[in-house]
């Protein structure tokens, strides 16, 4: 894959941050179509960008032959978004707490913390064949 592919409510991108904006346009467009308010659109867009960055950099390790897939769905007044990579998984319990004093001025390591703060729920399914993170947010 050399460019984003959109199928229905999903977008798949090569593992390159160049395509972050494509995901954002797709996701924000879907959310506005669902009637999600602008503040919540921004919170979800921030969260998705965190997960896609992690999927590209840490999951797929920027291997452009590996794909990151983002799927957007709505049930009643709740949005659910899944971000999947084709990496080798990670241990969610081994993520440093970014608000500990020794981590406060680190330039990285806040992504999942921010997602947990902004979203209603986060579910992490990770194996040695890939990671799927599902977030939900009511609006």
């Amino acid at each position: 894959m050399i460019k984003p592919v959109i199928k229905g409510n999903s977008i798949a991108i090569p593992s390159d941050q160049e395509f972050l904006a494509d995901v954002d346009v797709f996701v924000e467009g879907m959310l506005r179509g669902y009637g999600v308010d602008e503040s919540t659109v921004a919170d979800i867009a921030i969260s998705v960008s965190e997960l896609v960055n992690n999927a590209i950099l840490h999951g797929n390790k920027s291997a452009v032959d590996k794909v990151v897939t983002v799927t957007v769905a709505k049930e009643n007044s709740t949005v659910a978004i899944s971000v999947s990579d084709q990496g080798t998984g990670f241990d969610p319990t081994q993520v440093d707490n970014p608000i500990d004093d020794e981590n406060l001025l680190k330039e990285v390591g806040r992504g999942i913390f921010i997602v947990k703060s902004l979203m209603d729920d986060i579910d992490i399914q990770t194996t040695d064949r890939g990671t799927t993170i599902r977030i939900t947010k009511s609006f």
Binding site: E18, A42, A45, S49, E50, P98, I99, L105, E107
Partner: protein, 112 residues
Amino acid sequence: MKLTDREQNGVMILEPRGKIMGGPDATLLHDKLYDCIQKGKTKVVIDLSRIEWMNSTGLGILIQSYSTLRNSDGQLKLARVTEKIQSLLTITKLEPVFDAYDSVEDAIASFE
């Protein structure tokens, strides 16, 4: 993200626009800041009023800017922080790290 800059009273004012989500965004602001320091311009204000939203990459850029300037005997001030960014700074306990002002003029005056 797009970035413009101007100088006023010896203070560099950086004006990023759009969204800061990762990738080339980080390089753009870092390169501009490095350029400022190379030219001896170490009093810097980042006007955040035109940032639609930023993620942890944006926060990382602000921390990197703060640290880089401090290590060069300079200072970073933030101006016109949006509600969305303020919320992120609060969530991540970074609020006390940065000097933030309601206007660019106030931020510039704070260097005097």
